[in-house]
Symmetry: C2
Amino acid sequence: MRITVLAGGVGASRFLRGLVAAAPDAKITVIGNTADDITLFGLRVCPDLDTVMYTLGGGINVDQGWGRADETFSVGAELAAYGAEPSWFTLGDRDFATHILRSQLLASGLPLSAVTRTLCSRWRLGLELIPMSDDKIETHVKIKTDDMERSRVSPQHPQPSADPLASPAASLVDPAVTGLIHFQEWWVRLHAAVPASAIIPVGAAEAKPAPGVLEAIAEADFVLFPPSNPVVSIGPILAVPGIKDAVAAKTVVAVSGIIGGAPVRGMADVCLTTIGVETTAAAVAAHYGAELINGWLVDEQDKAAADDPALAGIAVRAIPLYMRDVPSTAAIARAAIDLAQELAR
Amino acid sequence: MRITVLAGGVGASRFLRGLVAAAPDAKITVIGNTADDITLFGLRVCPDLDTVMYTLGGGINVDQGWGRADETFSVGAELAAYGAEPSWFTLGDRDFATHILRSQLLASGLPLSAVTRTLCSRWRLGLELIPMSDDKIETHVKIKTDDMERSRVSPQHPQPSADPLASPAASLVDPAVTGLIHFQEWWVRLHAAVPASAIIPVGAAEAKPAPGVLEAIAEADFVLFPPSNPVVSIGPILAVPGIKDAVAAKTVVAVSGIIGGAPVRGMADVCLTTIGVETTAAAVAAHYGAELINGWLVDEQDKAAADDPALAGIAVRAIPLYMRDVPSTAAIARAAIDLAQELAR
């Protein structure tokens, strides 16, 4: 059995742990979202790839869902003591090592997919993790100019300044011109509390899928979407030209990250509101559409979605959908596999 | 009073602490050796500049003489777990922050002198620290080819390999062609136990003094050499075109790092042997020569140097020269100032 999974960060990683338990003999390929990536202190940080890597590799801070277990924070404290910006993104020391090595390997000329393979070789994930693209894609969020001013000077995009510590990583866009700020700044610094009018995976339209991405989709028995954020995790992957068409040609089962009208974790509701989609399991399935997904796993409290006329052509199954631990998550993964195999017939 | 000091790492830093105590109102400019610099994990490491910065800034590991106090080692442990090379150079987490920020600022286009000023602004050194040059200079050591083979593949210069983790920083020279290895590899990895036939500050001949270096020398009342390594600390500074002539035009008092026929600290004897200079206070003074230095402070046990005909033209003073603590070091600095003022008359 060959399974290909499009993956964001925390939710996807927990689902994948269950999937590996449910299908230990399957060849699993994970196409990881890289649109959350950001350059901090000159180092390339890939939050979603690393969350998958650390979770499957056993290095994750399990309670938190991201970052390393047994972490220390000396580097970040020192950077703050130097006055280096940004100060709103916490990176632990063990995590810094990953970003240092990634940045060194990228600077040596290796593409992100090869760098990811090298980093993952230490962790023995039990699956293959491929970034969606070797090209730089960064989700940016359009916020109102006065909100941007009210949120003061963005550390990612400071005013021209004589202070070299206040001029961090180059970004793909200039907020003063575009009104766009990096997703991480909106998400982490502003806690998504400033209304957004658009969420744009900058660079996606010109990007190419990384080597192996289209092959992994084409050769899969079916494709799964874990309960990842449909707007900023699954969305950017599908925005890379070629990936959506390749996925649409396969049997696809998606797992809802919305239960009872709210995201299980994170702030997917804010993202959905921004793109004009209701925060309900049914609305997210309709957003994906029957031309993309064939099966939709919802929680039992959302079983009414099965009768929603907007979901015509999508097989809806209701099961307990909270990923409490590995066994309960394996049961969800098992249900996704069963539905996909049923639909693939 | 304006004093300019050429400085290596540990010995210079301890001397400078005494100098600041001895002459709190003097304007002190330190020209720091950068030929020990090395790129590790893609980050630019400047051991001598940082030792001066941490020591004068109060962040040094006092007992060790280099590195940060209250240091942690998570980043290095993680890099080792990834199999990243080199594994023979220990960097602590707090220290990593300095290298991360330095590398980010260098990558943004700032010259090393401006980066050093920015880093030092946090530490309030009580003096000005300028790297000898903004150009890259790295001391390399020529060892016999069979010794190089016996010391196995140099992690800094691995054989061509498919393993990206084994191909670290680009160096200025290719050891397979030149028989040269980076000074740090000889010093730290091989403990200088492999005989060297030459010690060469690669890049020095083409380098320019950093902005402010020649001015600081020209405007100084006198120039001091702390008890730094004459071959790999003071030597490379003097090898930058223009600096030696500027220094020679001033009154110069140097402090011997050799006491009783042995270096007080470190392995200066091995370096001196390599360039054919005896490990005695008198031989080092003769190596500098009367055309460069005017005064030479030796320990009381080396007072016979005063009668050495090879030191004609150099005023030798014998005093207790062990830098046991700040007061004893301040007394040495005071003696150096007194001798310089006497000679400058």
